[in-house]
Subunit: 351 residues, 4 copies
């Protein structure tokens, strides 16, 4: 691997902001990457800061975000703070001339997501959103199978992402878990839903929706149902993709994360047969070998690569669309579950 | 068991109409019950008729339904024909003075369901709808756990009933598989949803919806999501019921069909703690012993019992509500997925 | 299918003896086969006899086995009685000139098994042993994969056949469940073990071993471990076959009964590398489509076919070897678990 | 937690030898424990040494074991080297006056295990063997259930410990994986088997047995079958314990590692009933909540505790018995699988 150096020949210098739940993983990943140094770690909580500082004494700990913004030698900032701070922190980073990596979702509103993207473009800085699942080997394997036409026409997708725990305090389960499914769906299908309907409930904390059932309608006719919940008897991350030719079950974390079912129903036209005929096909089931690479490392390496090459993140527009979907879903939830049109400047109720 | 005899002291005499997929099961069940005789078996298809006739030579086979209606010694008729014929055949049976058992759904429209109920009432005949799941030991065990308060407040229910195959020709998957979930939900929760939203698709046969995602909103605040499909990589009949105290997973046909999870999240009020506190509870998991009785037999015995005692079927009103839900779901599906109010004479769109 | 008729042109006439646990299955299978009639059903227990007689009124019920032996129109006898009666009943059937089907194991001793085979040969009658698993589609699929060389060299086989229940009164679990594994191993591997060791215990009924662990050593070097038990928390019928190229897991009754794992360890010789090298290979996992034919029907059709063609049962010698293995295993069990040589006239202790 | 200090008031000083597969885990665990310092890390391989040195710069890296022995300030040595070096390194440590922790098995022979124990006793030093499973919450939960009498009389135990990979170069699978099962069995049952029989095979590397089937006979009548293999289609660590009252399945790493089945067979004496009666009992299945503590940390804390209190390791005699069993199993394997008596000075063949 080539040495990644910033313009003046020194090692690329990165700061990490937010050391709560996910930040320490990003920090560990950055430390393991070659040819960069983590110059700062930053968190408002002294306790979180100290825990990371003990483990990585070479990074300067600080509770003051301005320290990062003001250091001219710092090349990039990686942000893993609560969602409602994403826009403010990322905008400040970009305005200070830093390449910026923000955990998903890119921003808490479509308008702010767009503003960040524009800011990066105007200042010619790299902006990337942490959508780890897009770098996960099973998700990539599914993408490849779809591209190869193995599934035929996709009819529908049914996904469950539920567990017990980790209630967020500032956002609903739609903003917390939804981006995982949204990013995968957008990536796999290469189209943006035209409408989203959402029902759900704030079972535990008043005002924070902790279970949601989403229904997405795509222009091609594909329907997707997504169940999101922080309240479930056991962890489940299962997505079924049903095509005219084959069906896939992707179950994250399972010993066989991708299973391809050579099953389907063949419809023969009534014009030929008088009455239509159905025949059921049930063939082999295949669990293809899936690489064991860690998606987080691939993702971070891509961010560093972007800084080196000057390319735009290939998933940045997708990151904006993810925010658009979350916003539309929230809007449907707020209005009692009616489908909401996606992709207009203002997301309108459909009915 | 006492002898069940009709008024004139002879054995109870029953005719079975419809010997396609489910009818032969009802026939076999009736044959095994004591103190009744299956006098007729009736189907339009000679092939179906002959298959059953060979097995049970004591019943008179006929392709003419009027033979049953006209025989004054026949006490009851059991109907397992396609959905669109339920009303016509059941109404004719009741008008001919026969006690009537109709497979679910009771009728293809709310109006017709209501008419059948009235007809039975006016003529003082027993009318019962075949909702086998209500007699299934796991469903009954779940009902008991709910009644005992084991779950605390129920927050939401998430159900999947999918398999590969058995596309119906006359009705959508909502009318075919939906009644199973509807009847269980109504039975467990003892309340009728105030609205239903449905999205779905006719993947295989044009005009016949073969996958549907339903969202039901109950007056108590409970939300239920129901996935129904004839297109799935593998058979799944799984219902998760999440309560404030415990959670249940009911999986029909599994070696442990009911599993009770002593898990949950406890919310402590911000008034006491400044900021609210959440604590996660994860205790034992119990698979209670479930009886092995066959629901079909219990159900048929109940029908025979009703004839003897003159009681009204305890699930008849529920059978009408099931039709009401299916109709509302179809209505939502037809109008693009907006929630439709349930329980009005005409099912209105909510938005 | 051609009509199977006995010499005088009439339908083939068969009698079934033993209507306890398995006999009714054989009876139902024979009834469903074309071109034969079940002339007699025979059992010592009036209760068992009546239960079958009600269902199949065309067969003459009798508690007297001689009725079958003495009827000159009866072509064949199917025996499903307790193991200790197999020899006596089968020998009598053969001596009376009847083609004979005996449930596994063929006889309770190697000597008697040999005598039956000789008797059939001398009298030119068909003798077949009911080894249903050999007709089971997954077992046949495994055989095909082995023959195609998919597994490479087979290293070892590990099998568990355990459940809760159905203690036999006259034989140990070795004679009851062992023949299933013995017949599959002999069929797949086409070689007879040279020694068997067995340990076990009579946990419940004094003197009746209800759990046994068998270790079979084959001439080719293959080792097989077989766990048999009537005492287990849950039913398990799982066989792992580990080869140099691929591995198979066969789990009877599972939704995917045969799974082929493209996994292994490659050993590279120290001569080339100084020290030996190992590399681990972990490829795709395949669940081939398995036919849904019922093994019992295939097996019975083969028996009827033998009578028609006059061929010798292709698994008759195997049936004798199964008895030989069971006898050797019992002998090892009795002497404290030392390996016992198989394949000598008298089975000698090895040590 | 109190401060653990050596006599002179300084922090307890520990050295770690062997940084291959398991050593780094012990090192990480020691680093996380309070009130001790890891003074040395030692390995013959510069590569292994450097990998750990980078992560923990405070420990002095060395390839020379004598550095540890010669440092009078070093209190204890933790050994995680290949099995054949255990005795030499541990004996040297004890002779140098260091408290000693040796990974399982304690030594490669019963004689050497005994010598280490004597050496520790004579010099009044703490000697402990790393038998991590004894500190694993599920194993402890099983022990508690047995002690409470939940299982009734234990009839037999059947265990599988198989995976694909990690062939050891110096020892067979019996010495590598066997100690896990041996230690659990000895701990649970509180008795030493009287004999062991083993069959197996060196499938991959000539002379290194990589699959073994062991049969252990306990004085109480309990029989245990243990399957050990480095060659398996998928990882499995499952132990079934069958008692007269209940049955347990312990599956390491499963979401529900301990499952208690209220199942069994009740035998009623022939004296009362004429013929004996069996009734099958099938009640609830319970997955008790299992703590999430890390066994490695509990184990290391216990070692440090022993140094402080001067107590003898409670599992030291068990560690010797584990070696005794492995030796007996190897001896049986070498002589063709005949049971070998355990517990004599020289392990004799039984037959």
């Amino acid at each position: 691997m080539e040495r990644f150096r910033s313009s003046d020949g020194s090692l690329l210098s990165v700061g990490v902001v937010g050391l709560g739940y996910w930040g320490p993983n990003l920090l560990r990943g950055l430390i393991e990457l070659p040819d960069l140094e983590v110059a700062y770690i930053c968190d408002r909580s002294e306790e979180c800061l100290n825990a990371s500082a003990r483990r990585y004494p070479s990074a300067t700990p600080t509770t003051c975000y301005a320290d990062l913004l003001d250091d001219p030698r710092l090349d990039a900032i990686v942000i893993a703070t609560p969602v409602f701070t994403h826009f403010e922190l990322a905008a400040a980073a970009l305005r200070a001339g830093k390449h910026t990596f923000v955990e998903k979702p890119l921003a808490p509103s479509l308008a702010e997501a767009g503003e960040l993207i524009e800011l990066a473009q105007v200042r010619d800085l790299r902006l990337m959103c942490g959508q780890t699942f897009l770098y996960s080997p099973p998700v990539m394997a599914v993408k490849r199978l779809i591209e190869l036409g193995e599934l035929g026409d996709i009819f529908f997708i049914s996904s469950s992402r539920v567990n017990l725990g980790l209630h967020q305090r500032d956002v609903s389960v739609i903003w917390d878990l939804g981006p995982h499914d949204f990013s995968m769906l957008l990536h796999w299908l290469d189209e943006v839903p035209e409408s989203v309907a959402a029902t759900g409930r704030d079972s535990i904390v008043p005002g924070i929706c902790d279970v949601a059932f989403l229904s997405l309608q795509f222009p091609s006719g594909i329907v997707a149902n997504v169940e999101l919940s922080w309240l479930a008897p056991s962890k489940l991350r299962r997505t079924a993709i049903v095509g005219s030719n084959k069906m896939i079950v992707y179950e994250d974390g399972a010993p066989e994360p991708v299973r391809v079912f050579d099953r389907g129903v063949v419809y023969r036209d009534p014009e030929t047969f008088g009455e239509y005929q159905l025949s059921y096909r049930s063939g082999d089931i295949l669990s293809p070998r899936i690489d064991a690479t860690e998606p987080l490392m691939t993702e971070l390496a891509e961010f560093i690569g972007l800084i080196r090459t000057g390319d735009t993140s290939r998933h940045l527009e997708l990151a904006r669309e993810v925010v658009m979907l979350a916003e539309a879903a929230e809007s449907s939830l707020a209005t009692g579950g009616a489908p909401v049109a996606v992709g207009s400047h203002e997301q309108r109720s459909l009915v």
